[in-house]
């Protein structure tokens, strides 16, 4: 599978990234290389092999339903945002 310019634009679109024309070639090249590298796995015959969703062989990892104090409070978390208004995060209108 080859990564086309259209694929690249589509991915950028989905993530709402702007993608400058001058970066397109190198990104397309990088992404194509990554996909080709991963695609080597397709050479293996996996007939009858259960899909692996994780590699630690753990299951049923959960916690109790108890409220715990957090390491950061509301003000500290809101301070991380670019802009806030009335204790909410202010963002440009999307859609």
């Amino acid at each position: 599978m080859e990564i086309t310019r259209e694929d690249l634009k589509h991915l950028a679109d989905l993530s709402n990234f702007s993608l400058p024309e001058e970066e397109m070639d190198s990104l397309q090249n990088d992404l194509d290389g990554i996909v080709k590298y991963i695609s080597e796995l397709s050479e293996l015959n996996t007939d009858g092999v259960e899909p692996t969703y994780q590699v630690f062989e753990m299951d049923n990892v959960w916690r109790d339903d108890e409220i715990k104090a957090q390491d950061a409070n509301r003000e500290e978390l809101l301070d991380l945002t670019v802009e806030e208004k009335e204790n909410q995060i202010k963002v440009p209108k999307v859609l």
Binding site: L14, M58, D59, R63, Q70, E86
Partner: protein
């Protein structure tokens, strides 16, 4: 041409666990400041990892059981990617490939069965408020546990769509997995509607009307969509597959602006959460003390309360639980059920049902006093209403009845004395003559006189009996 509508419904139910699905913060943000129930995990700060809430898994098992669904021992989480400011992570953690709840069905009061395709656990998104050129984000709702219930396209009318949604609400609230507050979005419905000519072997193109949060709006939105699609097809036009938004004020839906190709979620297994592999013991422990469901209540009350009344009572889970405390005593159960329905519902006194309900003892005493004719049906109602009076509700039934002065005199000796006194009065002589001459209806006047003399405490049917004997 006759068109047959086909409807499938997706329902999001917010689970009422103490903490969120993936972070250990307060899940109950009702009446709380924006962004006050959040953690670094909800903000998706670098390096923050989700930790699954085990209670939410139990709640999902209970929800599935309420819908007669198979519980899949093996399930796992996936990432559903999308870009929108309601999700700082840039993806929603959901169960796309292996959901925890498998196939089942919901039976409507009419007996129609709607099959459940599956239901899965996932995190809710944050809340956006839009202004003219910006939006505000409140992350309190981020990763509130949800189960999304997906029905099969088994619904064929707007009324059934409403009934299905209502029955789901009952199942989820009776199972106590949600607060069930529709106004605050605890349950939200998306309806998929298509129509096809009768006898056609293919379904028509469907539209999805999203985010309905009342039974009435579901019914209206489906009605609207069936009419709209019928009109288009009859004009020779085609239906466009699209997402629509419902406006309750205008009673119309409009296509929602959505990006082209928006539905490319690039699902992948969630690497931060190991899969679930539930043992039989875990599942049966989660179902211990499972509460009575609407179908159990229909069995309990079906033969003693009319169906229509029962369906109204079933909208009040706390009330039904209270009635179930009386189930050993059928006579009391019948009297009290009828009191609840006639007093509270006929007078549309719904708000009383949100208050603390009377105790089992108060209700049993009331039923007994009615049985023994110590209370007339009117007196019984008066006492019953006082059960909800903040000044009175903690008092014993008999005490309330005495304070209201509605305890009936059933002591025949005492009643006879009063009757004799009334019969001796000059103003009753003519009525007595008339009665003896065959004018049966003057008995009402005489009973009235006795009631007056007893200050309303005599049992009128007992009085009438004594009068008839004495005047015979």
């Amino acid at each position: 041409m006759k068109y047959i509508p086909t409807i499938g419904i997706e329902c999001h139910v917010q689970l009422c666990t103490k903490t969120k699905l993936f972070s250990e913060v307060d899940n109950d943000a009702r009446g709380k400041e924006p962004n006050s129930c959040v953690s670094p995990v909800d903000y998706a700060l670098p390096g923050m990892l989700p930790r699954l809430n085990g209670e939410a898994v139990k709640f999902a098992v209970r929800a599935g059981h309420a819908m007669n669904c198979a519980i899949n021992p093996k399930s796992r989480f996936d990432r559903k990617h999308y870009f929108y400011p309601d999700s700082p992570k840039g993806y929603q953690i959901t169960q796309f490939f292996h959901p925890i709840i498998g196939e089942g069905f919901v039976e409507l009061p009419s007996g129609t069965k709607i099959r459940i395709e599956h239901a899965h656990l996932e995190g809710d998104a944050g809340k956006l408020t839009h202004f003219s050129n910006y939006s505000l984000v409140d992350l309190n709702r981020v990763d509130t546990p949800l189960i999304e219930i997906v029905s099969m396209p088994d619904i064929h009318s707007a009324a059934d769509a409403r009934d299905y949604a209502k029955e789901l609400w009952r199942l989820m609230t009776f199972a106590k997995v949600t607060y069930g507050d529709l106004y605050n979005g605890n349950m939200r419905f998306d309806v998929n509607v298509s129509i096809a000519p009768e006898g056609a072997d293919k379904l028509g193109t469907r539209t999805e009307t999203k985010n309905l949060n009342s039974f009435r709006s579901i019914e209206r939105a489906v009605e609207y969509e069936i009419k709209r699609q019928t009109k288009l097809l009859e004009a020779g036009e085609t239906i466009r597959q699209e997402t629509r938004g419902w406006n309750d004020a205008t009673g119309e839906s409009t296509p929602q602006r959505s990006k082209e190709e928006a539905k490319d979620y690039r699902y992948m297994p969630e690497p931060d959460l190991p899969p679930l592999n539930l043992s039989e013991e875990f599942i049966s422990a989660a179902l211990e003390n499972f509460p009575m469901m609407p179908s159990d209540y229909r069995k309990m009350l079906g033969s003693i309360v009319p169906d229509a009344t029962l369906e109204v009572l079933l909208d009040y889970p706390k009330l039904m639980e209270k009635l179930s405390e009386l189930k050993e005593n059928t006579a009391a159960l019948k009297r009290i059920s009828n009191l609840f329905s006639s007093v509270l519902l006929a007078e549309e006194n719904f708000s009383l049902l949100n208050d603390e309900l009377p105790s089992k003892q108060q209700l049993l005493d009331l039923a007994e006093m009615l049985d023994k004719n110590e209370l007339s049906s009117t007196g019984g109602k008066e006492v019953f209403i006082k059960f909800f009076d903040p000044e009175m509700h903690f008092k014993a039934t008999r005490e309330i009845a005495k304070e209201l002065g509605v305890v009936q005199e059933n002591d025949l000796g005492a009643l006879e004395a009063i009757v004799d006194a009334v019969l001796a009065k000059p103003e009753t002589q003519k009525a007595q003559e008339d009665y003896k001459n065959g004018e049966q209806k003057v008995i009402g006047f005489l009973v009235g006189q006795v009631m007056k003399e007893s200050h309303g405490k005599a049992n009128p049917s007992a009085v009438q009996e004594i009068l008839r004997k004495k005047l015979a």
